[in-house]
Assembly symmetry: none
Homo-oligomer: 221 residues x 4
DNA sequence: AATGAATGAGCGTTCATTCAT
DNA sequence: TATGAATGAACGCTCATTCAT
């Protein structure tokens, strides 16, 4: 399970004890959110989970919504996938790096936390600008790596096309979650899907046409 | 907006008036679900939406959950994408049919209903066996068409590999929803993504290796 | 199970079909009352029990209370214990008749209906004048027999004393219900208690002092 | 009116203020139960009675049923009749003690609380295991004193017979409640019935045959 | 006579939030 | 900081009752 990162300007984050309690609350919040979903996510359950009085939760988070926002930020902050060491590895080709990243993402979606958290986040993003913004920043981050690799693998793609292809690749990978994620109906296919994804998306990046992808492809089909 | 289909064994569908009211409730329920999400989906809002007394909602649906289930079923029943006429068109190649289906799906995800409903459904499926089952049956249905076309386009794939590839294709398409769906942060890229998806996935189906996909691919990468 | 008696001036009691439905409702009402208690006694359950629409129940009984009253009367009407043949038996002494009546009453309290119905009725009588009146008339009826026998067994007792002793005897017997009635915690002692009651109460009637019982006894102790 | 005893392991009894509020709630609950009966016993009425918000009642008692259970226990705990000083009086014979206890019980049943509470309890005991258990423990307590006295008054009775006779005596006394209790139709006869009960039951204990009461008596009648 | 439909009041329960200590 | 206490709004659900057909 990933570790949560406290937002430094949270209330109570000044003293060491405050920081500890903050973490206790956020961890409990994460557990409740993962185990019971957004629908059952409320201060009462969180307080029971971490053994603190309800009043104390509101001391740190003035409202339920504030807690949820802090939770989203904390979870998402912990998610910056560990792509850096993949990128830094000098002995590997861009293709190999691309495949490694794809594999990392797909395998991650086999964890309970990921396969529960993200669908909730996507749903939330329809209602909450805050959730939408957090979601955005997370994926923008991940796409940055993809864009760089795509540029190397397929130099014929222009900047916008690279962005679009990275978006497609990223969304394709995320889309596997509700189907082969932890506990989902095709969960046993996760390894198989991992391989398919790696091959298919690498091939896609290699072969997709140059120029303005959108217009060119529109003509072809 | 799609029309809802009443489950014929719903209670209260005895008289014509009852059936009309049932539909009124389901429509209101759909609206609330789409506009406010699962979190705000409750009988009070539904009753206000359709101008009926709260008690009358429970007359038709004995519990909030029963209403939700009926709603999921009704929405999902209306969703059997209109693939039949695509498949029936004798002048088109399997590749063209495949691309047509891909386009149909991606374009559909640009509608408000789809881009709100499905993420909620995916999140729900983590908690509710019922939602999971409905979700499953819907996608199983859609994949059936894909499997047939994949078999024609790439005859070297065995039955299980076809299933896996169809699953990957379908999930890849669905995965675009939270990113380029209606109102989502990259919504303006929907046409571009549509083209990329069509080309990339067709290419994937064409070129993906025969035999046991999983093992073969595992070896290649 | 005793049969219920319809109040002839009930609505709908005119036609044969009406009478039949009335009985169906009352039987269902009795079952619900016995099986679920006054607290769960409501029109919905009764209607489900007898398979009639709720609207139809209110056709016969304009209100829940009216149904309850009719039920009480119907049950109580069916309860006039069969004392007449005991009293008519010419070969038996008054003592034997008294004991026979005591036994009949105590044994009856071993039935489920009796041991559930009467405590509910006693509780009800605190709140409802109607229930109190029905309860009164039932027991006044039963006491009439006792008073006659007591007069024969112990001629020294004046009219008021006879009434008081009969009241004590009757209440003593009823009091066994919550303790040795059907399903109660000392239910297995019912036969034993029957014998004790028969002997003790017969002895009581025989030996209790003449004159004004109240004053005399007050002096003795 | 008797005082209620708080169950020491009740929730919310942490601070003095909490304990005070708990008592306020229980008192209100008792009043509602006595004045309006089990049928009208609900949290809203209790909250109105004690001037607290409904939510605060559930803060102390998580459910209506928990409140009812606490109420039963509190009322019953307050009921351990004051028999000890009667038993301790060295100048009185067992007969006199027996009569004193009988009088105490019968006179108590002339209070409003008793004559309303117990019939409700007996009815409740048919449905609720909890009520049945509480009822049981209360009466088992009371019978213990009777059994001891019976053993002294009539040494020929074996242990089981003593139990049975005590049960009969206790039930006979309780049985007077719905008839001569406070507000009941024969309430004016309470003093008269007190005397009859005292004499009759003392005589019963004195004269009832030794050996196995059940079998012997069965033979006699 | 009987049904299905509809209403509205009422209650249990949950829960975010406030506040005194 | 932390807790216990208290509030009030909201919601699910039950149910008696009314009414058109």
């Amino acid at each position: 399970m990933r570790t949560l990162r406290i937002n430094p300007d949270s209330k109570g984050a000044a003293s060491p004890k405050g920081r500890q309690t903050l973490l206790k609350i956020l961890n409990a919040a994460r557990d409740v959110f993962i185990e019971q979903g957004y629908g059952q996510f409320n201060i009462k359950r969180v307080s029971e989970r971490c053994g603190l009085a309800r009043g104390n939760i509101t001391y740190y988070f003035p409202s339920r919504d504030a807690l949820l926002q802090a939770l989203l930020r904390a979870v998402i902050s912990g998610y910056t996938w560990d792509f850096d060491h993949i990128m830094a590895d000098e002995g590997t080709t861009p293709e190999e790096k691309f495949v490694a990243i794809v594999r990392l993402i797909v395998e991650d979606l086999g964890t309970r936390e990921t396969s529960v958290f993200f669908p909730e986040l996507w749903a939330l993003a329809s209602r909450s600008d805050y959730a939408a913004a957090e979601m955005d920043s997370l994926y923008a981050d991940a796409r940055r790596y993809l864009v760089d690799l795509i540029a190397e693998i397929n130099p014929s793609l222009g900047p916008d096309a690279r962005q679009a292809v990275a978006l497609f690749v990223s969304a394709s990978l995320e889309g596997q979650t509700p189907f082969v994620g932890y506990g989902r109906s095709h969960g046993r296919r996760l390894p198989q899907i991992t391989n398919i994804a790696a091959n298919a998306l690498l091939e896609t990046v290699r072969s997709i046409g140059g120029g303005d992808v959108g217009r060119q492809l529109a003509a072809r089909v």
